[in-house]
């Protein structure tokens, strides 16, 4: 069965006729030639296909395109504005937060979505105070990005990039929380 839908992808309306079994990821990649979201597992287990769907980060391989008619999709490519990379993209470049680059568009979309969730006060598994504003320390970044796998092992650089990106200008960014001198010995 086919359906006609229109997706707004990276600021452009993209009408498309597709098999109703088509995932949002395959619609973007195979039908619309938008290949910045990657297929790493097709099961929602790796995060390489992460895009922003109506402002929320989603794994696009677990969503049927037909359910997204009229929705706004932003991919890593769409985060570039007037030729200028998004600050998160710049931070990844600065901290070498990638190697092969395959998980990178998903990591970046996930990070952008994550920062918005933090701004909106959404707690995570590791948030102590569920009612107040969230302080985005390294542990929060790691927890919130754990749905995005990187086999090259760029994790510490990605966290550094986001630490950089989210640091208040007065340089109060949190550093790694564990140091041997702080621990209580018994």
């Amino acid at each position: 069965m086919n359906a006609r839908i229109t997706l707004r992808v990276d600021g452009r309306d993209r009408p498309v006729a597709l098999d109703t079994r088509t995932t949002l990821l395959d619609a973007l990649r195979d039908r619309l030639s938008v290949t910045s979201p990657k297929k790493g597992c097709d099961h929602g287990q790796c995060g390489a296909c992460t895009v922003l769907l109506d402002g929320r980060r989603v794994v696009s391989c677990l969503i049927l395109a037909v359910a997204c008619d009229g929705s706004e999709v932003v991919t890593a490519q769409g985060l570039v504005e007037e030729g200028e990379p998004h600050p998160v993209q710049r931070a990844f470049l600065e901290e070498d937060g990638f190697q092969c680059g395959f998980c990178t568009p998903g990591q970046i979309c996930s990070a952008v979505g994550m920062l918005q969730e933090v701004k909106a006060g959404h707690p995570s598994q590791v948030t102590d105070d569920l009612t107040g504003p969230v302080t985005l320390d390294d542990e929060e970044i790691r927890e919130r990005l754990s749905g995005n796998l990187c086999r090259c092992g760029a994790y510490v650089n990605i966290v550094a990039a986001l630490r950089e990106e989210t640091a208040p200008s007065e340089e109060t960014s949190p550093r790694a929380e564990t140091s041997p001198s702080e621990e209580a010995e018994s």
Partner: protein, 703 residues
Amino acid sequence: MTVRRGAVGAPAPRVEGLAKVTGSAAYAYDRPVADPVYACPVQATIARGRVVAIDGGAAAGVEGVLAVVTHREAARLADTADAELAVLQSDAVAFRGQFVGVVLAETPEAARQAAGLVRVEYDEEPHDTELRADRAGLYTPEQVNGGFAPDTDEGDVDAAMEAAAVTVDRIYTTPMLFNNPMEPHTSVAVWGDGGDEGGGGPGEARLTLYDSTQGAHVVRSTLARVFGLPPERVRVISPYVGGGFGSKGMPHAHNVLAGLAAMAVPGRPVKLALTRQQMFSLAGHRTPTIQRVRLGAGADGRLTAVAHEVVEHTSALKEFAEQTAVGARMMYAAPNRRTAHRLAALDVPVPSWMRAPGEAPGFFGLEVAMDELAQACGLDPVELRARNEPEVDPESGRPWSGRHLVRCLREGAARFGWEERAAVPGTRRAGRELVGLGVAASTYPYYRFPGSRAVVGYDGSGRYTVRIGAADIGTGAWTVLTQIAADALECPLGAVRVEIGDSELPPATVAGGSSGTASWGSAIVAACHAFRGAYGTEPPPGAEAGADMPRDPDAERFAMHSFGAQFAEVRVDADTGEIRVPRMLGVFSAGRIVNPRTARSQFIGGMTMGLSMALHERGVLDHRTGHVVNHDFAEYHIATHADVVDVDAVWLEEEDAHAGPLGARGIGEIGIVGAPAAIANAVHNATGVRVRDLPITPDLLLR
């Protein structure tokens, strides 16, 4: 030293970085092609036997299906000597998950639906997938990977063990491991008859592959042989590769399947991307290992005997013998040394290269055994290793080109706060957590493979293009080669453009064995010097000169290896056994570091994979079905953000005067070597529990 300092040694950002962070970098599947066809493979559901009937009727009836290709329809290949690549050539099934067919359709959805409708009947034969050290039929391979002898025996290990004041004699095991690069193995294949990319005459069949590979030229030469074509009629294009870790180092069955499938729809590109699940049977893996390590020493910890005897598997279809015990031949000074490799040829998928084949699993056994010996001798593990430092390579007797293991260990101990390690295991506690520190040594050989050529051209206006069919699989090669060329040409970094990832470029060896920078880089240096020699500093536009990689006479005279010291802190929850790794530090000696930014990423990436190997990764083969049951990321766990807290790497400032014009020994693999042992040793220091089987899971600590 023949290369001036300038770009080399500077932390240049990746030349392809912007394309990667914005998602515009086109990997194999992403390349725009006209009128594509989608392929979905059909895999065997038995581990051994024969296909007796295939009914593709229902599949062919699905709207949009173009062809169902099985061993009955597939073209005969010209060369089937490599059994892994003899795809769809017979009715035989050698492992579960092997290709038995492929469906081609106008859409991926139709191809997948139809593949599920192909009915295959089998004559199933008993299969054997279980590796045990006491099983019948173990054999000695002619050689192990890398061309090494399978066995060595120096002195009298048994007598030395008998006479030793202190001994360790233990079995260590590592599980079946999977490379799992984030980009699944992908080939987009199109048959043309000339006139398309790369030329060729009309009527001459030619194959173009957009491929995810660590070596465009090796894919070209292999597929040319398999399909019976002259190499110039095969073109392999792969500028961006989403990781490989060895699994894309040689062509696998999917490359051939894509080529065979595309014959059914000449002129149309066939897109074949393995699924994550399919990669567990079709993209290579690391064999499980059963390692017996015996160490004999005096009361002062000086080794008198080192024996490393390994049992591992290969596929009955094709032999791959991992060189697990080879590192033990050169690592420590001991007059009596023995290594051995025994294989069981099982009905399993074909094993292959995975990051640091040999050293990665072998140094789990050897370096945990060294920790056990330190404990038995009452010595600090750093001191034990220092006492066993060989002055020359024990195996070859050659001098080291630069062995600085002890410096790495001492430097790491100082930086890591090693003096805080509890001398008695299980005695340091922070709240609910038991805290431990561990150390392990690592090494990886220097390889420089012949067969690369670089060509330098002057484009005018001060700009140069360097062409070489190398691969950047995330290593930073693209950037590093640009730096090397800029220095060799004595021009600014921005004046050089490097082209890689295409078999139309001058030939290059595979991105493997941590050899890329040394191999391709020295070819580029030679080409740049040839260019300047021919044209001087004011070349005419269009000027071009090339050179092959020069010979490497010092590699014959010296024992050349990189070394490293890996340190880990672990914290184990005393009630649940949960293991966390808050800190890892690697100190490496790898010769000259061409790019500190990308080098650090490679080192910590390898260490992160080592952490993953230590605590998470295990392929579970169900011996009833011959099936790797945990064949996805939900069940085959790899480390993610939350697992990796603080991994750092530093290196000794040095150049290896014998390692070619760059003085660099290679860095891609050493990071994983020793990392699992450092963590296992830290777990022992934290808990007093000695785990000898990877991965280390909480249940093992709560017995």
